[in-house]
């Protein structure tokens, strides 16, 4: 079978394969079969789905209990203090926001760059983005001393005639995150519409057809539908793409505009964006690989996907490593004793040195494994590398926030931070909630974009027909 397939591939793919690349789609079935297969994943949920949903739902309930406890009792149930006024809450916020980035990056950025391999995984990644954003949004709200006044951060014509303070990065944050959330949800939903229509047509029960019908917005697959849809999708991709860069840049200014040694740094925006995409891709790997295995999606999500994502992780990992080095260098070069202390003494050798070295090991050393093709194509190795990177990126935010705060200018105010049980519950609770939302997504929504995949299949088929001609032409010119 493989041998036959090999002979049948188009020359360009053949060249790629000779260079060690794999195909983006290994499916040889018909379009109808493909639709049936992918729909089947949603319409006939696998047996493990129910217990997993239950477990993560219970985790979510624990999260809500911790949230209720925090809101009713006070932020004091966390381990935060003076000087460490931000700790787990903001670490989790930045981490989740970062994870969200890969979704938009894959669906919008790669769409504009016409990267075919995005198709199989984009909805998946978008879902992940949304659910990560839900977790992220929880923290800035919760970490307010008086969360019931959160709307004071929004510009609205209040009777107090007070506006938010536009010089504060937290105000920008509100805009950035809200925009990002709205655009992400629109983008995700718009991409879903054709597939929801398929669900509407194919769902076995009447009530499910009804529900899907509402969300399919009357899609009937006409060329006008498709033409409008393409236009809107492209436009949204155009809007979403700068957001990949802007959101985390602004989140980084929560730190960069302050005067705290370790935060006060102009490298933060690109460094944060790279880190966000880094952790986002790691999260895609962590979710995709088990789903791929359990749903038997190896033909749709191929080794090529793993390879590409791994390369993205390698690139962003190197960017993050570079940022670390630049930070160290500029701290030393500044000659500022406070900066030097934070970067060259406090972080590597201070009370949180363990966190620092975990960061270095996970974020700088682990990605070096991805130079090896074997690692890039081994799902197990890749999954563990992604896990390490995920831990490393969480630890990086923790290190960045807590080490800088705990030892700042006046030695007298130096302190330390120890998380409480509630802090831990909130972190693991959001992971539960995230997984719960994600499993619900797998359960109820076509998580592989059926229409886009069919289009891809069609494109590949056409490419096979057209490509030889191009090659011939190219040879003539050469």
């Amino acid at each position: 079978m493989t041998a036959v397939a090999l002979r049948e591939v188009a020359p360009r793919d053949e060249e790629r394969e000779l260079a060690g690349e794999l195909r983006v789609l290994e499916d040889e079935s018909s379009l109808a079969e493909l639709t049936d297969e992918l729909l089947g994943k949603v319409l006939r949920p696998p047996p493990w789905m129910r217990p997993l949903l239950l477990v993560t739902f219970l985790g979510t309930l624990v999260l809500f209990a911790a949230v209720a406890y925090t809101v009713t009792t006070g932020i004091g149930v966390w381990g935060n203090n003076i000087p460490v006024a931000w700790a787990f809450g903001i670490t989790n916020f930045v981490w989740w926001i970062g994870i969200g980035h890969a979704g938009t990056f894959i669906s919008a950025f790669l769409l504009l760059l016409e990267q075919k391999w995005r198709t199989s995984i984009n909805r998946f990644a978008e879902g992940m983005t949304l659910f990560a954003l839900v977790q992220a949004a929880l923290f800035p709200l919760l970490h307010l001393g008086r969360p019931w006044f959160f709307y004071w951060l929004a510009p609205y014509p209040s009777t107090m005639t007070v506006w938010p303070q536009f010089r504060s990065a937290l105000t920008w944050d509100v805009f950035a995150v809200t925009t990002y959330f709205i655009v992400s949800i629109l983008f995700w939903y718009l991409g879903l519409v054709p597939d929801l229509a398929v669900m509407r047509d194919r769902a076995p029960e009447r009530w499910r057809r009804r529900v899907y019908a509402v969300f399919a917005l009357g899609w009937y697959g006409s060329s006008r539908n498709w033409q409008r849809w393409r236009l809107a999708y492209g436009l949204l991709a155009g809007i979403a793409t700068p957001l990949v860069v802007s959101v985390h840049s602004i989140v980084s200014s929560d730190f960069a505009i302050s005067m705290l040694p370790g935060w006060h740094s102009t490298i933060f925006p690109p460094y944060f964006v790279a880190g966000a995409i880094y952790s986002g891709f790691a999260m895609v790997i962590m979710l995709m690989l088990p789903a791929r295995r359990l749903y038997r999606l190896e033909r749709v999500i191929t080794g090529r996907h793993l390879d590409n994502i791994a390369k993205m992780m390698l690139v962003t990992g190197l960017m993050v490593t570079y940022s670390y080095l630049v930070e160290l260098w500029s701290a030393w070069y500044s000659g500022d004793k406070f900066e030097m202390y934070t970067y060259l003494v406090m972080r590597p050798f201070g009370p949180y040195a363990l966190v620092y070295w975990v960061v270095i090991a996970c974020n700088c050393i682990t990605p070096q494994l991805l130079w090896f093709r074997g690692v890039r194509r081994s799902p197990v190795a890749l999954w563990f590398a992604a896990l390490a990177i995920q831990i490393g990126m969480w630890a990086e935010r923790f290190m960045l926030i807590v080490t800088s705060e705990s030892h700042d200018y006046l030695p007298s105010s130096w302190g330390s931070y120890r998380p409480t049980v509630v802090d831990g519950v909130l972190l693991f609770g959001t992971i539960s909630f995230f997984l719960f939302l994600f499993l619900s997504f797998l359960r109820f929504v076509p998580f592989i974009p059926i229409s886009e995949l069919k289009e891809l299949k069609h494109d590949i088929a056409r490419e096979r027909e057209v490509a030889p001609a191009i090659r011939v032409e190219g040879a003539r010119h050469g």
Partner: protein, 979 residues
């Protein structure tokens, strides 16, 4: 109606008072408030406190709602009074400040005086008269107290144990008791009684005098284990005088020099120009060596070499100090600490006499304390009497003697037929006594007391006793004469009116009664009566007696055992304040420890025993053993363990119970202040230490944070001793994105803090807490790093960790002109006022805490919980109504006492008369006047002058925050010979 029913009902009502949810109880409380309002009329001071309790219908003309009134009274500690002014809002006292007319205060107030207001509203205070735990009435107590076999035998078997007192009214009553019951025995007891001072004077002068120091006339001061700047009856005055001697307005101003020799690091030691750490028992060797070196042997005869042996290692130091003293003969002073044995005091007197300081810097005068120098101050007499079964009726008045008695001489109170205890709390002594009575708080009582120099103050109540307490005068009056017993008010008033006093000539025409009345009113107004201070005694030094005492003195054993030192605690004194949350949370001036005490130990000794801070250690001295958490304290003498008194309480006090280790359990009558033969071993357990400042070194940031230098450096290079390199390099301000100039208004507020004058005594911390309704967070809160003090005293160790220099630095909101907190707040909750204040708008704050992260000084404090919600209605009474009580979730910080500034502005609109300038609470309390607040625009103001001083600098100047608080660098005046 049955007799006593009424009293019982009243006692029960007092208990019900705190049942805040009960509307009836609340009404009762309002009634009491009404009574207090009635009392507010006492500024006229013509009426006795009203017997009826009714809210007023017609507002007294002198009360303007919203405008506080101030009443002069006094608070006594170990018998010595400090005059205070108490702020009262519509009859509710809220704050204690110093009385400028009182010699022991000079306008300043210490931590104990200021924290007294919190104890007043302490809901765990005793609030009932009980017999064996059952509520009874005062009348029942009176009945039983005046009955017994001793009434038949001229008082034999009646023993009265009092706190040491200087009260003339108490003295009168004691005289009367003595006349009525000649065989009755009076005892006095407090752990802080300066018995050794009296005995030292007895050796040197033949009678138990007390030295009265005048530091304004002293250029060189040597303190022998004496913490005179922070403890003792005249410490506020001495601190002021000492700071005046090193004010350094210009670089050529004279500066005094302080040498301190002590075992445990103290505030005085931290202020010293030279500090020598040595065991408490070796201080006598140092004193002997010093006496020898200044030429004392010519007077006392040869000083035995073995006595001086322990100081041999410090010959160079002794020589230098002696030379300095001799060079300043007549303008120098040697002080000995109350914990040092009498012979050290005698030698200090001898040195002063040799140098001609006696009568100049050290004047000798009789003690204001009743029966000073008398054996009645020895508690073992009572312990013996109890053991022998001689005590029939024991009345204990205001001293928790069961708790504070030496471990080897416990009081077997149960052996008395009946015992009576008048105490503020249901403490250890209350548990041992048959009858317990609630003692009225000093702010609820009539009384009088003498200052260190004998100046008499009236103690006047600010409020009716909240919990129905009685005063010691009430109880003593029962013993002094038959019913009807005089009230404490009558006793005090009669005595003052009866005093001839130094009546002014203007009044000579008036009738004697009118004159007496005028004297009484004047006394209440000024806080001091017309009684003259106690005259300085014309004491001749008894060289022979000193020589004999020195001869008899046994040199300290040179064995390698550990020494234990029991200092009075800097926060809870002898244990009487251990239920005061402000004081419990006040960081110890040196160790920054809160909510507990610890076995302090020097770094080298700790290493030797393998002990680290927080390790639990077992201390064994003789037959007595206690367990305490160890704390390594730089600057402590090697081989010494310090365990401060006053902790490990077991009474009914809620906060005090089980906090810290009870040092009294280890303290025997032979080691009241210090003792040898201590064994120490680690138990393996570990405690977390609630310390507010964990990083104690400057990490090379001296230039940015705390500039210090010596007087010689200042004079040679005025600019460089305040090494403001950054200031020199950057004459121009760094460029700023937001160029906000303060609006030109009438005032621009600013502050300077003179680090040379600051001793780190922490009076300002409590002042700020009281003025601004700053909550306490408890031990767990401190452990989590959430102490709420708006003003904290940072304290840094510099140099050799075994004997470091200590630099205290009050740190508060710097009111930066370009405040980093302001631009990061997303909701505009912290903004700048036109007169230069960085303002915090609590109502607008949502609690992002970004402002705190961006504050380089970390002076912002966050309400992690609703700290005030837990307070009972009684506790809430302490709040200053001019300052918002913050809810949870909002940030708070120093406001430069904006409520005082605004009040002054409002008053200036209606009242054009010249007023004293606005002062912040911290400035007001500061004994050394290190804190100066004022208007920067007013070129004649002290703050403007000081900010222009060569010594002024801004902390973290290079950040460009342009703080309004400037520090004057810490200048020390070391002896060049010891360089």
């Amino acid at each position: 109606m049955k007799p006593g029913t009424d009293e019982l009902r009243r006692a029960e009502l007092a208990i019900a008072l705190d049942e805040t949810r009960d509307p009836i109880a609340r009404r009762e409380l309002l009634k009491l408030m009404g009574a207090a309002l009635g009392l507010a009329g006492l500024s006229a001071c013509t009426r006795a406190p009203a017997g009826e309790v009714v809210p007023y219908v017609v507002q007294p003309p002198e009360v303007t709602p919203g405008r506080p009134r101030f009443y002069a009274t006094a608070l006594a500690l170990d018998g010595y009074a400090t005059g205070v002014l108490v702020e009262s809002h519509e009859g509710r006292p809220t704050k204690v400040e110093g009385n400028p007319d009182h010699p022991a205060s000079l306008g300043a107030a210490g931590v104990y005086e200021q924290a007294a207001i919190l104890s007043l509203y302490d809901p765990t205070r005793a609030r009932a008269t009980k017999r064996s735990g059952v509520v009874t009435s005062w009348e029942a107590v009176v009945r039983d107290l005046t009955r017994g076999p001793w009434t038949e035998s001229a008082g034999r078997g009646l023993h009265v144990l009092l706190e040491p007192t200087s009260s003339p009214a108490v003295a009168d009553l004691l005289t009367k008791i003595g006349e009525r019951w000649p065989a009755a025995t009076i005892h006095f007891h407090a752990p802080g009684t300066p018995v050794n001072v009296w005995e030292g004077a007895r050796i040197a002068f033949g009678r138990p005098l007390e030295p009265r120091f005048d530091l304004t006339a002293a250029d060189v001061v040597v303190a022998l284990d004496s913490d005179f700047l922070a403890s003792g009856p005249a410490s506020l005055r001495l601190a002021r005088q000492f700071a005046d001697g090193r004010r350094l307005v210009s670089k050529n101003d004279p500066m005094n020099r302080l040498y301190v020799v002590e075992p445990l690091p103290t505030v005085t030691g931290a202020t010293a120009d030279h500090r020598l750490r040595m065991r408490a028992r070796d201080v006598q060797a140092f004193a002997a060596a010093l006496l020898d070196a200044v030429g004392g042997r010519d007077f006392t005869g040869p000083l035995p070499a073995p006595l001086r042996a322990a100081a041999n290692g410090h010959a160079r130091f002794v020589r230098a100090v002696a030379d300095d003293l001799v060079a300043h003969a007549g303008r120098s002073l040697v002080l000995a600490g109350a914990g040092q044995p009498p012979v050290v005091h005698a030698m200090a007197h001898a040195i002063n006499a040799v140098l001609g300081n006696t009568g100049k810097t050290a004047k000798m005068a009789p003690s204001p304390i009743v029966s000073a120098g008398d054996p009645s101050h020895d508690l073992s007499r009572l312990a013996d009497a109890l053991d022998r079964g001689e005590v029939d009726t024991l009345a204990i008045v205001g001293t928790n003697a069961v708790y504070t008695a030496p471990a080897d001489r416990p009081l077997a109170i149960g052996r008395a037929r009946q015992s009576f205890y008048l105490g503020a709390y249901e403490d250890e002594t209350a548990r041992a006594c048959t009858f317990t009575m609630a003692q009225a708080h000093p702010l609820e009582s009539w009384g009088d007391a003498r200052a260190f120099d004998g100046t008499v103050s009236i103690i006047q109540p600010l409020i009716e006793p909240l919990f129905g307490g009685r005063t010691s005068l009430d109880l003593l009056a029962v013993l002094a004469g038959p019913a009807p017993h005089a009230t404490s008010y009558d006793l005090v008033r009669a005595r003052v009116r009866g005093t001839p006093g130094s009546a002014e000539s203007a009044e000579s025409a008036a009738s004697p009664d009118a004159k007496a009345e005028a004297a009484w009113r004047r006394a209440l107004m000024r806080g001091v009566t017309d009684d003259p201070p106690i005259e300085v005694a014309d004491a001749a030094i008894a060289w022979r007696s000193i020589g004999e005492a020195v001869e008899r003195a046994r040199p300290a054993a040179a064995n390698g055992d550990l020494e234990i030192v029991f200092p009075l605690d800097a926060r809870v004194h002898d244990g009487r304040f251990t239920n005061n949350a402000w004081l419990l949370e006040l960081p110890d001036p040196i160790s920054k420890l809160t909510w507990t005490n610890a076995a302090t130990i020097a770094p080298d000794t700790a290493t030797q025993y393998g002990i680290a801070s927080g390790d639990e250690v077992e201390l064994r001295a003789g037959a007595h053993t206690v367990r305490a958490a160890a704390l390594v304290v730089p600057g402590q003498a090697d081989g010494v363990v310090g365990l401060s008194l006053g902790w490990g309480r077991e009474g009914a006090e809620e906060l005090a119970r089980r906090a810290g280790t009870n040092a009294y359990a280890l303290r025997t009558s032979s080691s009241l202040h210090a003792g040898g033969g201590l064994a120490l071993r680690g138990t393996g357990a570990h405690h977390e230490m609630p310390i507010t400042q964990r990083q104690r070194t400057l990490e090379g940031r001296d230039d940015e944070v705390l500039r210090h230098g010596t007087l010689a450096e200042l004079r040679a290079h005025p600019r460089e001793s305040a090494p403001s390199e950054s200031a020199k390099k950057k004459k121009k301000r760094p460029l700023s994105l937001y160029d906000v100039r303060p609006h030109s208004t009438e005032h621009q507020w600013a502050m300077t803090i003179d680090l040379t004058a600051c001793t780190g005594c922490s009076a300002c911390v409590i002042a700020c807490q009281a003025e601004n309704n700053v909550p306490t967070v408890g031990r767990s809160g401190v452990l989590m790093g959430r102490a709420m003090h708006w003003l904290r005293i940072d304290s840094y160790f510099s140099g050799d960790p075994r004997s470091p220099e200590v630099f205290p630095q009050p740190m508060l909101c710097q009111h930066c002109e370009k405040a980093p907190c302001e631009y990061v707040c997303p909701v505009n909750a912290t903004v700048h006022s036109s007169d230069g204040l960085n303002e915090m708008v609590y109502n607008r704050c949502v609690g992002t805490r970004f402002c705190s992260n961006n504050c380089p000084y970390k002076v912002r404090r966050f309400n992690w919980f609703d700290y005030h919600r837990r307070e009972t209605a009684t506790e809430q009474l302490v709040h200053n109504p001019d300052v918002t009580v913050r809810e949870r979730g909002v940030m708070e910080k120093c406001t430069f006492c904006v409520q005082r500034i605004r009040e002054d502005e409002i008053r200036s609109r209606t009242d054009k008369a010249a007023r004293p300038p606005v002062r912040t609470a911290c400035q007001q309390a500061c004994p050394t006047r290190a804190i100066v607040f004022g208007d920067k625009l007013d070129a004649s103001s002290e703050v403007a002058r000081l900010q222009a001083s060569d010594r002024a600098y801004a902390v973290l100047d290079e950040l460009g925050t342009v703080p309004r608080v400037r520090y004057l660098n810490r200048v020390k005046n070391p002896n060049p010979e010891l360089a």
